[in-house]
Structure formats: C-alpha cells, structure tokens
Symmetry: C2
Subunit: 221 residues, 2 copies
C-alpha cells in the first residue's frame, strides 16, 4: 500500500521476530517502533497502543493507513500486497500452502501461546508457579510440539533446506523464533535434528540474521 511501513515490535517477542524476518525476506524497509513489554507495567497497555491493538500485544504493522494485527496474518498480508517483491513467502499450490500454514500453526497455535509472558505471569499469580516450574512448563510445551514437528518435517519428502522445499516461507518465519525460545529455556535441540538443520540454514541468510532479537534497536546492550 504505502512506502512507509511501521512495525510495533519488542526485541524478544517471538511473534514480532516472525514479522521482522518476513519484512526482510520481502525486502521491505520499515520503521522500528519498540514497545517495551516490561517497563512501567508494560507499554503495550498504554492507551495509545491499546487503541491500535486492543489485545495489548505485539506485533502491530502499519502500512500507510492500514493497521494489520496477528503475526501470521501480517506475513500473508505482506506476501499478497507486495507479491512481486523479494521472496515469495507462500508457495504456489493449495497443497503446499496448506502444509506451510499447518507447520506455522503448529508453532503459533499449539506451542507459542502457552509460553508467553501473560500466561507465565498468570501461572505465577493464580497457581503460585515458581520460576523453575514456569521454565518446566515452557519446556514441556516446546518438547511436545517439537516432537510432532520433527516427525512432520523429517518424514515428508516436501521438506528441503527449508520447511517446504528450498525457499523460505511463512513456516520458517515461525520456526526460527520458536527455536530461539527453545534454546533460551534450555530445550535439548539435539533431539530435533531436522528442526535444528533448517534453523541453521535460515540463520545463514542475512534476512534472518538481522531479524534476531539481540540486534534490534530496543535490545539491551
């Protein structure tokens, strides 16, 4: 739509990381707007941001006048709107698209939502979970999801150097941030060799590398 894209992001947010990768793969320049999820009770709850995103979540993408929410929806929006630019993040056939979406949704619906800050806070507040119990909770859901994902990737001939074939897609945009979280919480990635191989292949690309949490403008130095 417009030539001014803005992304409300937080360096460590896995969902924002997905969109940063997609913007880079599409070759789209954007303005980075940091929303600190912890400072001052969380900037995502500020009235101005709440108006843009009533869920008080990052990311939110602004494309000209349009406000686009939800990381997977944003990524498909970018791919459809800037179709001729950069990498194609959705493959050409309905069968392949279904597989790419299913891999992305295995991560974005069945693993990641259980491990976000608001859920871990709630677990602590309502169920007296200790830091060790919260970390065990996170690892449990990642291990459960990655076990399924590893066999889905390992046993399917459509898997290539990326999740689907030899081009990066929405699925890889979701996979790499989830592996980042897995490592952060001490998940043993040697149990998931196919996932680890795809992650390494992705991170060798500058589009993935420059989307990493640590190199974002709001990351602590």
């Amino acid at each position: 739509m417009s030539d001014l894209i803005r992304l409300y992001s937080y360096w460590r947010s896995s969902a924002a990381y997905r969109v940063r990768i997609a913007l880079n793969l599409k070759g789209l320049r954007y303005e980075y707007l940091g929303v600190h999820l912890l400072e001052g009770g969380g900037q995502q709850h500020a009235p101005g941001y709440h108006k843009l995103n009533p869920q008080d979540m990052v990311p939110t993408l602004i494309d000209g006048e349009r406000v686009v929410r939800q990381s997977m929806a944003i990524i498909e929006y970018l791919d459809e709107t800037y179709h001729e630019q950069g990498h194609r993040l959705m493959p050409p056939s309905a069968r392949e698209r279904a597989r790419v979406r299913a891999i992305a949704q295995t991560i974005a619906c069945d693993i990641h939502p259980l491990n976000v800050l608001r859920v871990l806070d709630h677990l602590e507040r309502e169920h007296f979970a200790t830091p060790a119990q919260k970390e065990a909770w996170v690892r449990h859901w990642i291990d459960e999801g990655f076990s399924a994902l590893e066999s889905l990737l390992d046993e399917n001939p459509s898997t290539g150097s990326f999740c689907e074939g030899d081009e990066p897609t929405l699925a890889d945009c979701c996979l790499v941030p989830q592996v980042y979280n897995a490592r952060r919480f001490g998940v043993d990635m040697t149990r998931y060799p196919t996932i680890a191989r795809i992650e390494a292949h992705c991170l060798a690309m500058p589009e993935f590398d420059s989307a990493r949490p640590e190199v974002q403008p709001d990351a602590p130095r």
Copy 2:
C-alpha cells in the same frame, strides 16, 4: 482433489467444529470419523491416528490421498481447492483477508490453545489445579480475548451481519465454536453483544446449525 473427503473429528472439539462449519458452507459432503478424546486414555494417541497426526490432535482432513492438518489451514485449503463451490470463505482483497485471518487467529492462537484438554490436564497434574480453578482459568482467557475481539468487531465498519461484511468467512468458522465454549464454561455473553449478535446470525444458517457438537454422530445421546 477427490470426491471422498473424510474428517477425523470429536463432537466437542472446537477446532473440529470449525472445520465442520467450513465443509458445510462449501457444500462438501464428507465421512465423519469420530476420535474419542477421553475413552481408553484417548483414541487420538492410538498408533494409527498418531501416524496421520503426530500431534495427536483433531481435526485431520483426508482429501483423496492428501492429509491436511490444523483447522485454519484446512479451511483455507478447502476454500482454495473448491473455490467455485459453496460460500467463499476468504474475501477477495488482501486487506479483508488480513482482517479475517487476524480475527480467526485471535481466537485460534490467543484464546483456544490455553483452554484445551491437554492443557487443563497438565494444569491439574503439575499445578494441582482444582476443577473450579480450571474453569476460572478457561473463563479468564476467554474474557481477555473476547474483550479485545468485541472492540475489534464493534468499532470497525467492515463488520456486518458476519465478522467481515455480510458473508460468512473463516473468522465466523472460528467465532461460533469459541462462543460455544464460552457458554459451556459460564462466560457472561451479555458483555459481548456484537460477538453474540454474530453468533446468533450464524446459527440461524443450517450450515452452522448442523455442525453443532450435540448433533454429531459421536455425541452422547
């Protein structure tokens, strides 16, 4: 693809309910295969089903030789593959599609995953949650998500008799099963008048009505 579609479903599964609605809206006949999530430790863990769906989750759709997983991916697959048949479940423009997907993902990524059986079981086992605490947990995440969704729907002129305009889409396929769950757990739906209005409009259609949990072949009589 084929004229034989099979759906592995469980009457009370919210994700399977979404796909049943979509199949009806597309006017596609299908064979219903019940997977009892509770009986005998859960039929979803049986080796034969695990091979089809390594996440041990319903639904799984079989379309001829193809195996399609993840409810939202299945619904977009059906809409793309059977494009000329029945209702169009995805609107024509990238902007509208992004909004439909964002509404669907608000439900399928941020509300529903926190409230499924495996999570409630884990909460009981690892965090000693009582039945009352599990119900409070469910209501908390539905209320949080529905508060955001109500304002997203209420304040946007794109909302019509359905979530997006006056035709049912993927968003409605996700909304109606989530309201079913909300009612089941005693959420006060008078707080969400726009959501309740859209639900009522949907359930007046035979395609939604005949997808309801209570009328499935594996529902208790």
